[in-house]
């Protein structure tokens, strides 16, 4: 007989997608465990966990970006989990080596290009975007966004700090305008003719396609999707994931919940409602995602993204990429 304590699960979540609401509801229906959510940006949530210490009521941290999960781990607010289910469902490169966090969805950071003005054969790698042929033609969002920082972290790891800095400087010079707006705004800029290529996450393309504003549908029609670095290390991917907090008073419930999210039922919801790739990318069932074709993803262990995050931000500052 579950006591009121057992039937609770307190989540600090950065994710605020509709898919999550569905999944919370499904989980509660299945298990009878009540879910309480505090939404916030990952950094604020991590800060809050640090301040609250062992008295924190949170059981689970649910957030996007591996860098953030790494930061939470470094701050000592997560704890290692043993779960055969999780080990089975989630590939090794997509979980923390010490099992303190687990990926639940994947998103790729791709290049979208104007079908009218760009020949896809001109596209190859992220690094190529630094070349002069792209002068005044690129649109990317601000460096304060975690997805750019993680991309930069992977570039630092692949090419070293000096080359990464040069790349950032050159790409900034190649931008059609100063960084502004969200990933979707970059696609819109390409469609409008301000820029010819943009860097953005895959699920945003899905969101544009299903937007209630018909203008966004037209944007999707005008752009093509290109997966960079296919001949090399693979396209940069990032994740959203979860970790159980060190202070958790409902550890069992938390583990149950992550296991549920890694199940194929939940993974399908992520794909269909939110256009995110499941952790096993090949299991993807969404038509839109499939239409872009399979791709080779960077097998870099994502904890590196967190380790290099500080360097990434500093290099962006040095490069003048706002």
């Amino acid at each position: 007989m579950p006591t009121s304590l057992q039937a609770q699960l307190n989540i600090y979540s950065h994710r605020h997608y509709d898919s999550d609401k569905i999944l919370f509801k499904n989980f509660t229906d299945k298990t009878g465990i009540e879910i309480n959510v505090v939404k916030g940006s990952a950094d604020q949530l991590i800060q809050r966990l640090i301040s609250e210490g062992e008295n924190s009521p949170a059981d689970l941290l649910l957030t996007v970006d591996a860098g953030r999960l790494h930061r939470a781990k470094s701050a000592g607010v997560l704890q290692p989990i043993r779960s055969k289910t999780l080990y089975k469902n989630i590939p090794t490169s997509l979980r923390d080596p010490d099992n303190q966090w687990f990926a639940l969805t994947v998103r790729a950071r791709v290049i979208v290009y104007s079908k009218e003005r760009v020949n896809p054969n001109d596209l190859s790698t992220y690094e190529d975007l630094a070349s002069s042929k792209w002068k005044g033609r690129i649109a990317v969002r601000s460096s304060s966004n975690i997805y750019n920082q993680s991309l930069m972290a992977s570039l630092i790891d692949a090419n070293g700090k000096r080359k990464a800095l040069e790349w950032a400087k050159a790409v900034r010079k190649n931008m059609a305008r100063a960084p502004r707006g969200s990933d979707r705004d970059q696609a819109r800029a390409v469609a409008a003719g301000i820029a010819d290529v943009a860097i953005m996450n895959t699920y945003y393309i899905g969101k544009l396609a299903s937007s209630s504003d018909s203008k966004d549908h037209k944007v999707v029609e005008k752009v093509g999707v290109f997966f960079p670095n296919q001949k090399g290390r693979g396209t940069h991917i990032n994740i959203s994931g979860a970790g159980v907090t060190k202070s958790s008073k409902n550890k069992e419930n938390a583990i149950k919940f992550i296991e549920y999210l890694s199940s194929s039922e939940a993974q399908d919801v992520f794909g269909s409602v939110n256009y995110e790739y499941p952790v096993k990318i090949e299991n993807n069932k969404s038509d839109l995602l499939n239409s872009w074709g399979p791709f080779k993803s960077d097998k870099l262990n994502l904890s590196i993204l967190g380790k290099r995050n500080g360097d990434a931000v500093k290099l962006f500052d040095k490069a003048g990429w706002e």
Partner: protein, 545 residues
């Protein structure tokens, strides 16, 4: 040297007397409460900490950028606010024309719209310029387009923020113009000056303190905005604070930036005070002569109408109509949003905040005035700093406080309503305190002397004399806090309890997920909640309560 020693001896004696003779239940509790309220900000200042390598990086790279951007944005926003606010205030005060009565109060309405909602309402405004920019590029090259783009960003952001912040200047300018009444304007007229020359040579200089006060409010609001600058990508100090704290995980450096920002806002306030106190502008609210106003016809009428319609359109009509349209588009989302729970939460916090700030202001203000305690007065000034401090910084201070309390007393205050309301009090005390202490000063100082000699207790004086006389001020103060609390965003985002959303946080979350259309619903509710007290307050001011 001797003079210095004498002065310090006198000062110590003075201090001794202040402390010895004026310590009682009122003053001690006021000092304690004032200290508590100042604590989060004090903790932020204390945590500047040791010089880190990261700080060096910040000073090398972005500190100058943050400073310049902040200054440029503030100046541009102030410019728009002044143009909108002063011109409309003058037209509405000095001329009669069909509709002038309506505009008089309608021009205040944009105050109901927080800067972040204004930014969302105009979120795609820059896209309008795309064809123009593309043409620039094809005619003049890439560099020209980029330059134009950069300027446009600042221009549009300043225009948008100026459109919803100009009422601060408008209200104060209007009050100043109206209170000057007939005197100087009649004198000017009898000496042969035209309307325009009277305005520039007589009225404007006399209104300088009021306008400066309005400008400083606009400047502070601009500096503490996060939603609009984030959306349009302008790297101001506040933007930098969030980026350093959250983007770099460097709380210490972020706090340093926060202290610099605080220093910046304080110097604005100091400057403002200097400018205002520099001259005696006839503070006494004497009944003003109403003077004969010119009735406008024809071309002049059109001009006056334009001056009034333009700010009102940018600041209210356009945002509200867009959002009404979007709300219609997303009406199905209403149920999912649980709008009534959100409204209830917002109302609860706003009411609790306004009631507690008013009650505390009464205690703090009365203690300071009745007992003529300069120590309490200074303490109150510290407690009022919250309004000049961005909400995010206060939240950071509150979290630091939480850390100490948690480790010392092993209790949870984080994530509770108590902490949230406390943070709101820290943030908004000044909003209630300023009018209330001014009310005490104008109405009660001498009467308190009388009641003291008549032998009655302080409580008796407070209840029988002070409170009845400042009743209207109390209501106004409460409403002002209510309006600000309803709009509050960054502080709530950081400190909210479990499952707790307000209309503001819902708006932000939805917009952040690029569900701007759906965000119109909570936005409209916020506007609705704030418009009513604004209209009420406006009417009261007009009546010359």
């Amino acid at each position: 040297m001797e003079l210095l020693a004498l002065k310090s001896k006198l000062f110590r004696k003075y201090l001794y007397k202040e402390i010895l003779f004026k310590l009682n239940r009122w003053t001690i509790s006021s000092l304690f409460i004032g200290f508590l309220i100042f604590l989060p900000i004090g903790l932020v200042i204390l945590h500047i900490g040791s010089f880190t390598a990261n700080w060096r990086h910040i000073t090398d790279t972005v500190l100058i950028t943050y400073s310049i951007n902040s200054i440029v944005l503030v100046l541009a926003t102030v410019l728009f606010s002044c143009v909108f606010g002063i011109s409309s205030a003058w037209v509405v005060t000095n001329y009669k024309f069909p509709g002038h009565k309506i505009f008089r109060w309608a021009l205040v309405l944009p105050l109901a719209i927080p800067t972040y909602i204004a930014a969302y309402a105009y979120f795609d405004i820059l896209d309008l310029f795309n064809p123009f920019l593309i043409w620039l590029r094809s005619s003049f090259g890439l560099n020209t387009m980029q330059l134009a783009n950069d300027m446009l960003v600042y221009l549009m952001t300043a225009l948008i923020m100026g459109s919803v912040l100009y009422p601060y200047v408008y209200l104060l300018a209007r009050a100043s113009f109206e209170s000057q009444g007939g005197h100087f304007i009649n004198v000017g007229r009898s000496l042969g000056h035209s309307g325009k020359s009277i305005f520039w040579k007589v009225v404007l200089p006399l209104s300088r303190p009021a306008i400066v006060a309005g400008i400083s409010l606009v400047a502070m609001e601009t500096l503490s905005d996060y939603g609009a600058v984030k959306h349009f990508g302008i790297q101001t100090f506040t933007y930098g604070i969030f980026r350093t704290w959250l983007g770099m995980g460097d709380l210490t450096s972020a706090l340093r930036l926060a202290v610099i920002l605080l220093g910046f806002t304080l110097s604005i306030l100091y400057l403002e005070k200097k400018i205002r106190s520099g001259a005696r502008y006839g503070d006494k609210s004497t009944k003003s002569l109403s003077y004969k106003r010119n009735y406008l016809k024809g071309k002049k009428y059109i001009f006056a109408l334009t001056v009034c319609i333009l700010p009102f359109t940018f600041g209210f009509i356009i945002p509200v109509s867009r959002m009404l349209y979007w709300a219609w588009l997303s009406k199905n989302y209403l149920i999912e949003l649980n709008i009534f729970q959100l409204t209830f939460n917002t109302l609860t916090i706003a009411l609790l905040a306004s009631i507690s700030t008013v009650v505390l202001s009464i205690l703090l203000g009365f203690s300071s005035k009745y007992f003529k305690s300069s120590i309490v007065q200074s303490s109150n000034r510290f407690a009022s700093l919250g309004y000049s401090t961005p909400g995010a910084v206060i939240a950071m201070g509150a979290l630091i406080l939480v850390g100490y309390v948690s480790s010392a007393f092993n209790i949870i205050i984080s994530g509770t309503m108590l902490l949230l309301i406390f943070a709101y009090i820290v943030r908004f005390l000044a909003v209630a305190y300023q009018p209330i202490i001014s009310g005490f000063e104008k109405n009660c100082d001498e009467l308190n002397d009388a009641s003291k000699t008549l032998g009655v207790s302080p409580v008796y004086s407070l209840v029988k004399i002070n409170l009845p006389l400042i009743k209207n001020t109390l209501i106004a103060a409460g409403l002002l806090v209510f309006i600000d609390a309803t709009k509050e965003l960054p502080l709530t985002l950081i400190l909210r309890p479990f499952n707790y959303e307000t209309l503001a946080t819902a708006t932000f979350d939805l917009s952040n997920q690029a569900q701007i259309i759906e965000s119109s619903i909570p936005s409209l509710f916020i506007i609705f909640l704030t418009v009513i007290p604004i209209i009420y307050l406006n009417r009261r001011i007009g009546e010359g309560r």
